[in-house]
Assembly symmetry: D2
Homo-oligomer: 362 residues x 4
């Protein structure tokens, strides 16, 4: 299957960039959970474009219309469905776009897979715009997790060579992350913004890394093997366009750290078992150990650039030079921060729903 | 769910380290596919321990008994089941192991999740031994992929600070990788072995990175969003014990490369559309573009070490010092190479089974 | 999970009777399949109420708005989403309805399950109105099956004691079934309509049986055990409100027929292997044998009646007499005929998508 | 998929009639549940053949070997796997069996689907023998349900024209059903046995109907639409070989009963809400209402008969007369009674696992 996710909840995402609407259905959610629509809108606004000079100026209003599943501000047990009407709907002939695939986009792979029937306009179903319904679902899950004391926050760890501070893995400051351009070190943030502006001026684009933390998770969440927390988070994170890397805890650095330093020793603090370090990123054997879950996500540079690129005309089978006009988002990483939070919230909430079985195990 | 994987095939893995047997069932495989049992055994032998001085001396014979699904050397359409009888079965009382969880292992998380009912002996279901049935399933999928001209190979990219060469991303030399201690650069391999031996002498352990390539994949394999090639590979790779990182193509390096350099331009070679570089690791929008799929996997150091570690006694709730006797595998990375190949083979074969739908799309 | 169906396609149905909209998403459909919207509308009109005197007079216009997945009349490979806006949306306070559950409805079970948070208005997500999105999905699948030469038709086999003729199991006349009040024997149809009118006059309701046939199916569709054609059809048919029975071929009569008479002997006709009878309803071992698939579905009488009934006030825990005002549909069986066809079409199309694997088995 | 079942648990069944072993894996079961192996064996013995003169004399010892998931008599949270070694393993050449398919069996459909690679010996994966691992899983689920006060019992309702009494739908006497030849009315049972013996003498076979009841179920179990109790039970029941019909409550009779009589009115007894009748079979809107769940299952006559039958030689494409030698089970209905109980237990336990979400809804 493709645009569905979840073992205990079932998320289904639909829509194309220039179709009538994009949206999502979310099935399997318990009844009686509150949904704060205003707070959800604030969350969605964090991924909205056109708010500043380091982002694309195109203005969308991502105001979801809730079609089902929520009555008087509470979930009613029926599947939740919500849509966002597209303002820039399909008009004119986009078929010539199919002939010359843009490097770095899914144009060519979609053409091979769907044989020319794909909706090529604006990237169709492969557009980053599809992360908006992901944020609707994730924004709700985030609210329900917060009710349980589980908080999720992310920040930009790097843009190009400009790096932010890391979260404190023992006590990540998820609440104090700024919301407009989320970094821990404001100076690093300024360097990143400058770097993005330079890329824009050059008609180029840049990538970056996002660090995300889930604090307040109880121990015992997750399943062995393919149902582990890492596996479940990985499946949804890699569903976000442009993600090319993901690691947990000290991640790739673990190759260089001997076991005597990477093992997280146990101790007792205030009668609670904790680890003295958190190199594992809060997960052992796929199951949470009660420490914060921490992971980083690498995003490639936005493929839409103004520079000349080499492509081929699929119809004539000739090599051509492609120049894409218009203003583009030179870096999607800032807008991707709430998307990563949303994906994490969905994965964690799904695992917690499944974990109701665990309570019987005690 | 937990120890099951697959959208089109259904893999179910079972067993505990010291139980009567470990094994797997593999449902959804077409009839009429040949299975070369001898070749499968050779593949399984690659992950067997005790073959040299940089590995654990414990000797197992992982000879699978095929219970169903294969008749006269061909799949018969019924679910395939195979088991490996454990030689070191459970004897004596392992309950004291439950009281003091080993740092870096799943002992503590299993205790929280299963409330003391988990099989603690040898790590139970969380043991690396469970990668043997994964290799049975993966070894078969690998054979079926080879029949289609799809070849999978992996090598040790790094142990500690000792690094091997990278695969050529345009044409990874998957066949030429040595099988005993699989590296591309034999000199680097010697440095790695020395590094492992030093760790062993110190009673310590080390981690590393494995690079894996899938060559010969046609374009058009995979689904959008959560069913993308990266998502599907990630779910199974993170089901391997000790994996803490995974990236595709240039992966985490993509944060530092501008779009003008990371986009893979197209050209035509011998009448075929190819990309001029392979920074994307052969995947765009979750779908293969016909270039080799390449990814790297980070393994943490084996948590079993001889050095003194801090733990807690769960019964008395006192902090204790733990010293684990016996000889341990100071580095599981060499043995994990076929496991990564097996996981990739299962994920790719699953995607290809689903892709039979794609052919109707043309 | 609940309102999702499918192994190879993924259908998700959402909405409540008096919510803003009802709808469905349908993921996993190949690209390039034509969708005739007008023909789809004709199909949907067959389940619309208010068309005659034996049905409820409430007038709805079930005109679906397609939000995604179809471009220029063809599927584009992305998930299909379609909604129907509700005209009679929720207004006023329906909470008193929660206090006194209607016998035969899901009011009480919803109250227990959702603890008072369910959408009680008009039956909420349990309303028969939710069969409209099922017909959107099913109507499309029906068109795609027809392209392959697979035709699905159903008729009213019985209303009360009034019985229609059976389909010829060897060659069901699925095309000749009338569409307005679908019966094979028009005289029987008149008796049924009279019977329904009498029930209406008495403030009562009646049930009935629908017989459905799938003609033109090739042999080899379906999977063993729980993935058999009967299992897959049964899961979706029992998702239709008011269904209480389902059997295949001679069904319950098979208890009385000895093996020598119920076994379907083989013969060769025009070089094709056929069975001489079709007692099995076209399925053996869960897999089609090339003969028509035939099954019957029993619907209970509509629970909404005007007669006085005994219920309880859940708030005061007192027994009360309930009299439901308003005009009700005295028999939903005629309107359920296209719903059964839709469900069958979805199940069969799902199986055929999975069966692309089978072709490799030959 | 095929031989897997379950939304919250995952059951996978494998094996062929004459392969080395048959078995099952059962994943997703909470840790800490007791398994009484002796009681399980007694349950399995109820479906064993060769115990009397109305059954086949072939003697099997269905003694399961538990490979994983159970330690010291309790589930340990890891997947449960159990196998039964086949005594009559494949020997000699069964390929000629593939040439002439037996009417009423899955020989022909397997040949079409698997293209000659199927395991034809003894019916392979389609053999009724595969209900033994179903009974292993179901026998365990039945024990766990009993711990919660949920009891499941079934009896033979009819063999040919010989009918037993019905369960009292308000209070089914599930415990008092005899275990050897399970009927409520012993006289009817004798008539049935005579009827079977006559069929055997004539070289023929007979079918029948089984009625099953689940008592002690709380209200609120099940999900709307395709996740309803009827849908979930139907999927697994139709996975049992030879099942051709299934209905709930008054089932097919509901066609003839007006709503004023079929609606189950509510009343209060001992402070509990109950229905005054149980025509719905304990289920409304797919969700249990606290009354016993009751359903009947129709089995066709065993296809293995001694009489001459018409078939075709698939190789030569000639019509041939087939006479099958050897003694056959003239009626599998008595042995199918525990199989129906097992299937019901698995479906209900799966629903209850999922229902842990429900408790949060209150």
């Amino acid at each position: 299957m493709s645009s569905t996710y979840g073992e205990n909840l079932k998320l289904s995402i639909f829509g194309q960039s220039h179709g009538p609407a994009i949206g999502m259905t979310l099935d399997g959610i318990p009844a009686g959970l509150p949904v704060d629509v205003e707070k959800l809108q604030e969350f969605l606004n964090r991924r909205a474009p056109g708010q500043n000079d380091w982002s694309t100026p195109r203005k969308e209003e991502d105001r979801p219309e809730i079609l089902s599943g929520i009555v008087d501000g509470f979930t009613c047990g029926a599947p939740i469905a919500a849509i966002i009407h597209n303002k820039n709907t399909r008009s004119g002939d986009y078929n010539n776009l199919k002939d010359v695939p843009r490097p770095g986009h899914a144009d060519y792979t979609a053409q091979v897979k769907y044989g020319g029937f794909q909706d090529a306009a604006g990237g169709g179903h492969f557009s980053g715009r599809l992360t908006a319904p992901l944020c609707i679902a994730g924004g709700m899950c985030k609210q329900w997790l917060e009710e349980m004391g589980i908080r999720i926050g992310a920040h930009i760890l790097a843009i190009g060579e400009c790096g932010d501070l890391y979260f404190d893995p023992m006590d990540p400051e998820v609440e104090s992350v700024g919301k407009d351009f989320p970094v821990l070190d404001e100076e690093a943030g300024q360097a990143m913004r400058d770097f993005i502006s330079q890329a824009r001026a050059a008609g180029d684009s840049v990538g970056g890394i996002i660090e995300c933390a889930v604090a307040g998770l109880p121990a015992g969440i997750g399943e062995p093997m393919f149902g582990g927390v890492e596996s479940r988070i990985a499946q949804i994170i890699y569903g976000i366009p442009a993600v090319k890397g993901l690691d947990f805890g000290i991640g790739f650095d673990c190759a260089c750290v001997p076991g005597s330093q990477s093992n997280d020793d146990f101790s007792i603090v205030d009668g609670q078992i904790v680890t003295q370090t958190n190199n594992a990123g809060g997960i052992q054997g796929g199951i949470t150990n009660g420490m914060p879950v921490i992971f980083t996500v690498a995003f490639k540079a936005t493929p839409s650039i103004s520079c000349a690129q080499q492509s081929v005309n699929l119809k004539t089978m000739e090599e051509v030079t492609l120049e894409i006009k218009g203003r583009h988002d030179p870096c999607i990483v800032p807008r991707a921060v709430p998307v990563v939070e949303a994906a994490a919230a969905i994965a964690i909430y799904d695992l917690i729903l499944g974990n109701t079985q665990t309570s019987r195990r005690k």
